[in-house]
């Protein structure tokens, strides 16, 4: 690992508000996304979806489809040259013998035009024997439950699925011994964290709060549906250009699927039109399979309906939880049982992370948390911004609030008093880093909305909640090169999901000692870029950012070494100010970076180029916390909840660019509002998706949003670039919980299911025995 020298002067403008570097091209529509890029001879693919949620395929008849003018081929599983095996979606891009969810691709029509391919899809006949779908999460766990998959994809548990899970977040640990339980084979994973005697601790508690919390399937609702193109280079290299969160991850997986050396696969990341966790290996295996089968360029761009029906949304959960406290408010024990619907594919299930996060940022003398991932006949689950955390925080923070209410304790003080100390163990045994939860709670406690909470009129209420996201630590490399014009090029393989690349520019500028407009960040494909992690888990600013900092510092040293020869003084006696390299104390004797760079690029020059390298892997985790404060109004006659105001305070370590950080905080809060009030993918009793369009699947819109106020809290991360943390996910975690607590304050009933629906609240607010 390259040592990172101390922070230089502050030329780079950390903490200055700047627009995203790609915002102009995006708002003017100039950006070319994966589905916009044309290629000579490109063929278009459309999927033939399964009509049934669970079925055995007898035959696929493509005769009529192949007769449609322009149709080149109709591919089924046998046509794709897949050699890898594993219990993962990517090894089964087309159903092999058994269909496991409605909408699952069964065949792929390839045609000269998208229209011809679509028309031909309707003419493909899939002869299938319908099987009973497994849809109910709890029933699926029972020992006698029918299996959601009759013929396993692999006989033994595959390691790749475990690797996918590790990509979420760096928590989990080994866990406690599992209990003997009589469960069906649909239960595909179990995790347990336990310490102390929870039963007796709860029995001795002065107050116990408990509840069963349900959440529903939620769609990531990115603007750009999944899309990828692929082709073969003359040397046989398979190239895939895709809307992906991770080019290197994608390359590695494609190599495994098709049995190719990774060096013969090249993945190009197209600009991402939103992803939120979903865009990690969904359409690429279909595209690559078709390219390898046909030896022609192929594109698959999902329609919105296909994207709803056949990708990887966040899974539904049932969380049973019981917490106990002393009269003083000291938390003594938590007992929790979490079941997550993994859907048809299980590699991205999130029960293990949720099991850690359900304990919150608190210290628990005794705990017993059991988590289950359960296979059903719905789409395979994927990641969605802080996977597992909004569900877990909703359950825990609702009960913490209830505990405070029953003990007559201030909800902020109750939380503050129970926060885990840095260095003490988390429930998975990892040591708690400093997480900023205290500072976030203190920030909302001081807010006028909180201090004035007793003054709201009847039917309105103020609620709060706190949550955190553990973040991740990934190996990363970066290059920082001095260009002939004296500017810097930063080369990374990170795909820009949320503005992180704009942050990279600031990091490099600060580390090198120039203004950010002197830095160009270039995201290259897997053939050209330094090794980079996938954008997910709030990883890249923290991990790649550190590599960029090191690369820029390296480049700075190389430049100063060269300048020292020119000035004939020691490098340590030089400084860089306003783009001028000069001896300290002699401002008039400087040379511009451009002039120095020109000398370095002379043909026949004598000095090696300035090209800094950074290679890092962070030593510690840097979780980000966020507290939400919500003002809600409840209409007793209709059950309708209106959010009047939302305040979010988040610890970001150090705000590299406050404008972009606030954008992330707003986005997470808005998605939290969607979790809390609107979003629910609904299947019928046969497993058919009913809410597969934006007409039927409601997401928050600008017109339905309250004013959202952001408060940036900075508790620096020891290993982060200039103290920065990964900040993309924390803002969504406690947003639904805070809304639920505000609703409880306004309506007098505590929501137990997300989304909080007017009809249910209307019923429960009428049925409660007396006003609370």
């Amino acid at each position: 690992m390259t040592a990172v020298p101390p922070t230089p002067g502050g030329e780079g403008g950390i903490g200055v508000r700047r627009p995203r570097i790609d915002s102009l091209e995006k708002v003017t529509g100039a950006t070319r996304y994966a589905a916009d890029r044309s290629r000579k001879g490109l063929l278009h693919a459309r999927v033939v979806p399964s009509l049934y949620a669970h079925a055995r395929i007898r035959a696929v008849d493509a005769t009529a489809a192949l007769a449609v003018p322009g149709v080149v081929a109709v591919l089924t599983a046998e046509d794709l040259p897949i050699t890898g095996r594993g219990d993962m979606r990517m090894f089964e891009p087309l159903a092999r013998g058994e269909v496991v969810f409605a909408g699952q691709p069964v065949a792929l029509v390839i045609a000269e035009s998208e229209a011809a391919a679509s028309d031909a899809v309707d003419l493909v006949t899939v002869d299938a024997e319908r099987l009973d779908p497994v849809l109910d999460l709890h029933a699926a766990m029972d020992a006698g439950a029918p299996p959601a998959r009759i013929k396993p994809l692999v006989e033994v548990e595959d390691d790749d699925a475990g690797a996918a899970k590790a990509a979420h977040a760096a928590v989990g640990g080994v866990g406690a011994l599992l209990e003997e339980e009589d469960l069906s084979e649909n239960v595909i994973s179990r995790k347990r964290y336990a310490q102390g005697d929870v039963t007796s601790a709860l029995a001795q508690s002065d107050v116990v709060a408990e509840g069963t919390f349900r959440t529903n399937w939620v769609y990531q609702a990115y603007m750009e549906p999944h899309a990828a193109s692929g082709w073969l280079e003359p040397d046989g290299t398979l190239v895939v250009e895709t809307s992906t969160q991770g080019t290197f991850y994608c390359r590695q997986q494609l190599a495994k699927i098709f049995g190719l050396p990774a060096s013969q696969v090249r993945v190009l990341g197209a600009p991402l039109g939103g992803a939120f966790g979903s865009k990690v290996i969904v359409v690429e295996p279909l595209v690559a399979g078709a390219v390898l089968a046909l030896h022609r360029p192929v594109r698959l761009a999902l329609t919105r309906r296909e994207d709803f029906a056949a990708t990887n949304p966040a899974s539904a959960s049932v969380i049973e939880i019981k917490i106990g406290a002393k009269r003083s408010g000291e938390l003594v024990a938590i007992d929790a049982r979490l079941a997550f619907d993994a859907g048809a594919y299980t590699e991205w299930t999130i029960e293990a992370i949720a099991a850690v996060i359900v304990a919150g940022p608190y210290a628990w003398p005794a705990f017993d948390v059991r988590a289950y991932g359960v296979r059903t006949n719905r789409f395979g689950t994927g990641s969605y911004r802080a996977p597992g955390a909004p569900q877990a925080a909703f359950a825990l923070e609702s009960l913490i609030d209830e505990l405070g209410e029953r003990l007559g304790l201030d909800p902020v003080e109750l939380r503050l008093a129970n926060l885990a100390e840095a260095g003490s163990p988390m429930i998975d045994g990892e040591a708690w880093p400093g997480i900023g939860a205290r500072e976030c709670l203190e920030a909302v406690r001081a807010h006028p909305l909180w201090t004035g909470r007793q003054k709201v009129p009847p039917g309105e209420g103020i609620g709060l909640a706190v949550g955190y996201w553990p973040g991740g630590k990934e190996p990363a490399a970066a290059i920082c090169r001095l260009e002939p014009d004296g500017t810097l090029a930063v080369i990374t393989g990170v795909v820009d999901m949320s503005g992180a690349v704009s942050g990279f520019g600031v990091i490099a500028a600060e580390a090198f000692g120039v203004a950010p407009d002197q830095v160009k960040v270039v995201s290259l494909d897997t053939d050209g870029a330094p090794q980079s992690p996938l954008s997910g888990g709030s990883v890249v600013t923290y991990s790649s950012g550190r590599a960029i900092q090191a690369a820029a510092a390296d480049a700075r040293q190389q430049l100063l070494d060269f300048a020292a020869l020119e000035f004939e003084i020691a490098p340590a006696d030089l400084e860089i100010v306003d783009g001028i390299v000069r001896p300290r104390g002699s401002p008039d004797r400087g040379m511009s970076l451009a002039a120095l760079a020109e000398k370095l690029h002379d043909f026949g020059g004598h000095h090696p180029p300035v090209e800094g390298h950074g290679r890092t892997v962070p030593k510690s985790l840097a979780p980000s916390s966020a507290a939400h404060l919500v003002h809600a109004r409840f209409d007793h006659d209709t059950g309708r909840v209106e959010i009047l105001r939302n305040v979010v305070a988040q610890d970001v370590g150090r705000a590299l660019n406050p404008a972009l950080i606030e954008g992330q905080m707003l986005g997470g809060t808005v998605q939290g509002i969607g979790w809390a009030l609107y979003e629910k993918l609904i299947h019928d009793e046969q497993g058919q998706l009913l809410s597969g369009t934006f007409l039927d699947y409601a997401i928050p819109r600008a017109s339905s949003l309250p004013p959202i106020e952001t408060i940036i809290v900075e508790v620096p991360a020891p290993d982060g670039p200039f103290g920065a943390k990964g900040i993309g996910e924390a803002s969504v975690v406690a947003a639904p919980a805070a809304i639920a607590n505000a609703v409880a304050a306004a309506a007098g009933v505590r929501p137990r299911e997300l989304p909080i629906q007017a009809a249910r609240l209307w019923t429960s607010s009428r049925n409660r025995p007396e006003p609370m």
Partner: protein, 289 residues
Amino acid sequence: MRAFAYERPTRLDDAIALIDGHGPDARPLAGGTDLIIRLRDGSLRPRIVVDVKGVAELDAEIREEDGFLAFGALTTMTDIVVDGRVGRDYPALAEAALFVGSVQIRNRATLVGNMCNASPAADTSPALLVYGARIVATGPSGTRRVPLDEFFVRSGVTTLARGELVQAIELPRPTGRRGSVHLRRTRRRGHDLASVTLACAVTPDGVTRLAYGSVGPRPVLVLDDTGLLADPTAPAADKVRRLEMLFAGASPSPTSMRASPQYRLAMLHVLGLRAVATAIERLASGASQ
């Protein structure tokens, strides 16, 4: 999207001849905000789409005629929202039009198209019903006028005969003061299909007109001429009982995923009471006719 023929006639006779000649295989196209979606998702597969935007006799005008305000076949929701006469004399229609879709949708969607789709959830139907709208339909055998209440049959089905096109919608000019309002209850504000939609108009003679949608296969108009609902001093409990009688025919779908039938019915009553109260207030304040 399946291939289809596209025609853009310039004369009403030609448009009618095309619609008549192809019968159920033809679909007229005006705003296209429903048609294009249904062509794309394959739920409609016409052989021919007849674009009526080029027909000389059809326009987007809102014009004052003898005793009526008439809306052309191409009048958009935006045209309605910004029209001062509509805002003054038919505020519930302006309010309903503002609920339709988004700005882009309102710039394209037509009032006539909204009626011809005959969706039970159409935002503008209840307002048009309480204002006594009638449809002007022209077909191979001439032009006829149909009260809107006799136009709807069920979702997607109207009493239009083969070959008929709706040329305009006429609203009778108000004869005196009137208080009216449009309300709806959805899962969220803005772009969404309504869970319950309702309009109410109260006149000084004590007559209350209520129309509701999304609570049965077609929008329904009911009338209270006892004076009870319009009476600002009548006890709320009596009004609730009266509304129960008036809404007895409401039959929400038992299978909708948007809201349970019980909840929809309850909301129909809540909206009914609120709308009556607002209409009475507006009548008293004279803010609208």
